[in-house]
Symmetry: C2
Subunit: 207 residues, 2 copies
């Protein structure tokens, strides 16, 4: 049974706060505390936690360590998943640098590009392969997720290669919407739209 998309997002966010709590020595947390950390309500938090079937010790709040672990059981794959970054320009490089070394079940283990100045170089410890070796490398390294940061005009073509190579999830940072096979999960991550949305609501509340 698949959780609602918004719940999955919130669980990921909760987990990060919970890890923070743990560092601060907090062992238990109430639904309303978690809610306050995340612009939402205590009921919403409890509902999300209900979805994953965890129950707290009544009246004491949720056991932080346990909750982290249960969320992990839901979100993480047992052995983690391998990730590739496609297009190592400004954004691709920023992302790669950022993610590498983060303790996580998602490991960026390869990047791809077509620029000969980048190919075979190592960026933040991750090797850059030529795009035409995509299928091979995806296979041998068991990569299932791609982060797309190629220029807009090669996005469609590259996305087809990705599907062909056996990628099962795509996080698309390019500004053009993609079409992938129905068994491939696609998330469009659109900065321009986000910025325009902020601008719209700023404009509207000014009036």
């Amino acid at each position: 049974m698949m959780l609602p998309e918004r719940t999955v997002e919130r669980l990921s966010e909760y987990r990060r706060s919970l890890l923070q709590c743990l560092e601060e020595g907090k062992t238990h947390i109430y639904s309303h505390e978690l809610a306050e950390l995340h612009h939402n309500t205590a009921v919403q938090v409890r509902r999300d936690i209900m979805f994953i079937g965890y129950t707290s010790m009544q009246r004491k709040g949720y056991d932080v360590r346990e909750l982290i672990s249960v969320i992990g059981d839901i979100l993480d794959s047992e052995k983690g998943l391998n990730v590739a970054v496609i297009g190592v320009g400004n954004l691709g490089r920023a992302i790669t640098t950022y993610f590498v070394g983060k303790r996580s079940r998602l490991n960026i283990i390869a990047t791809f590009d077509v620029d000969h100045n980048k190919i075979d170089r190592v960026i933040s410890g991750v090797k850059c392969y030529p795009l035409n070796r995509l299928k091979e490398v995806v296979g041998t390294h068991n990569i299932s997720i791609a982060i797309m940061t190629v220029p807009a005009d090669s996005a469609v073509e590259v996305s087809e290669h990705l599907v062909e190579a056996g990628i099962k999830g795509v996080l698309n940072f390019t500004t053009i919407p993609l079409n992938v096979a129905p068994d491939v999960y696609l998330d469009e991550f659109d900065m321009i739209t986000s910025l325009e949305k902020v601008a719209y609501f700023v404009k509207m509340t000014k009036k």
Copy 2:
């Protein structure tokens, strides 16, 4: 009257496709064509367009140029809005470089940092100011939107400065959720969550 959030997002996306169409010399477009470009349905497109009160010439589809203009009337502010990037690290630099020069009503006109190696330097034509001049510069340059790309541990503090300085919209790229005054619009743009969400659905469809 305020449009639903999702509709605003889609309008921004439609506009980009429409601009593309224009370049390709397409003068009219049907709802189902626009839908196909954006993983959604013709009815959804028509409903969104109905929201903004535009009507097509029956049976010919929407006039591309007109529709772009009407969406612009809804989304854009008359004179555009000024934007600042706070924290010019890897991500801040990538974003600044990307946005500058894009024909748009949203202009990145300043960046801020605390690192003396960055302050007073010009990045992609945009000057970097010291953070302690935030209020002054926001005032004199009439900046209303901030893109936050500072390290997580200074995010909360910086967000307070932003609100204090009179910023009205924040696009937050840091991994910790912020709390801003109720009249400030905040969008959390969370890459880790997005990636974890992709991973979850990949994991689930594998089974």
